[in-house]
């Protein structure tokens, strides 16, 4: 029988090691997990709903999975990309505080000028990482505090962009097409007949919306 106490301790230590020093990583992971669980819950809601006919379930379940995939992918790609960029700005020393700049100047990475700081022409920011410097311990507390803040800001900006701008636009497009197709198949009428400007009546929309238990925003 597995030792539950050992598993529990290992779980706590993994959370502490993975997320303790890196709060932005935790926000991304739990965000992705949240989107995934939210979509899974919606799929489950349709699957166990007796009021929805079997034929419609066959359509609604893959549709919900598709919707969830858009949410998860958009959140992960956009948010992690912007977080990675913010992270690289701090770790490469491109963006820094005066204390970090002074440390980089003392280490010969930055050059102090009249107006501020600069780097040599051939300096490659993409290869440089402050953490890999031999004297990193001298600036560790200042750097980690600044970098964690920049990471969380990057993550928050990324999630606003993906959850509140990109995903709703994509979803609206996808949903409009989907509704027109559903309406056409439900009423057995030609697809062309339901196109804009006729649109969809509010009663049909409500009927379709009621079939979906919930969708859309980040619920979790």
């Amino acid at each position: 029988m597995p030792n539950l106490n050992r598993i529990f301790t290992a779980f706590k230590d993994t959370v502490a090691t993975k997320f303790g020093p890196n709060p932005a990583k935790m926000l991304i992971y739990t965000g992705v997990l949240g989107w995934f669980l939210s979509s899974a819950a919606q799929v489950m809601a349709i699957a166990v709903n007796d009021k929805i006919p079997k034929e419609q379930k066959m359509f609604l379940i893959p549709q919900e999975i598709g919707d969830g995939a858009i949410n998860v992918l958009s959140f992960f790609l956009v948010t992690s990309s912007i977080k990675a960029l913010a992270s690289k700005l701090a770790s490469s020393g491109k963006l820094a505080t005066p204390k970090i700049r002074q440390f980089l100047t003392d280490s010969g990475i930055n050059i102090k000028t009249k107006n501020g700081w600069k780097v040599l022409k051939d300096f490659d920011f993409s290869k440089f990482n402050i953490k890999n410097m031999t004297n990193f311990d001298q600036i560790k507390p200042e750097y980690e505090s600044f970098k964690n803040g920049v990471d969380v800001i990057g993550m928050t900006v990324g999630s606003i962009l993906s959850c509140n701008i990109i995903t709703p636009i994509l979803r609206n497009k996808y949903a409009a097409e989907r509704q027109q197709k559903t309406l056409a198949s439900l009423n057995k009428i030609d697809q062309e007949k339901v196109n804009y400007p006729k649109g969809i009546s509010i009663d049909v929309y409500k009927k379709l919306a009621a079939m979906k238990y919930s969708s859309g925003n980040l619920k979790i």
């Binding site: 990675a84 780097v119 920011f125 990471d151 993550m155 609206n172 804009y196 649109g199 929309y205």
Partner: protein, 216 residues
Amino acid sequence: MSVFTYLGRNMASVSLNSIGNFSFSRTYDKIGRKITRAVLNSIGSREHLPTVSNPKTIRAIDWIGKKLSSAENRLILGASALLSQPFIDASNKEVDSETRRYSICRTVAKIIAGTLTGYTIRKLCIKSIDAFTKLPLEVKPDAKFKNLRQMLLPSIKCTTDELSQYKNSLGTLLALGVMVFTNFIIDAPLTKYLTNVFAGSSKPGAKKEVENAKSK
């Protein structure tokens, strides 16, 4: 493939690399590095490196890194969602005006319900985890469930900030589990109720109907 998709994928690869030393392929990494270099070079000048000098801004950045938990993050997302999503729905010309009005009401209702429950449950879960992640000196002699107060402490050494982030993470994970159920128990009915309220009050002629009813 669009530039954005290309950039997104490669930046994602950079992020994955930093997370778990994961590499798609050498060529892919090379392309990723080239894009990272191009993006980094396009931000700020090499002759005048961007430096955050304002002490207040530095303190704010530090505070965000240390104190911003998933609960506050959810609140920020909810507030910004209210400022953007209804307008995105309002500009959706692919549906008729009545459907658009109903979808705006539903979006606002979903945001309010989702943010309220999301924020509250996260906060409560983080607080609950905190109550059982006490350091030996923090446990008062007369505290209730004294023996359980340290049960969630990790066995590895952590700094105070790391321990606080650990509590946030564990609290958020617990909240995710709780919200699988509250999604149906609270969110869905609250969204339905709010949608009906908003849809009723935003109906063209709703004011007149109310006035007529009052005069009768």
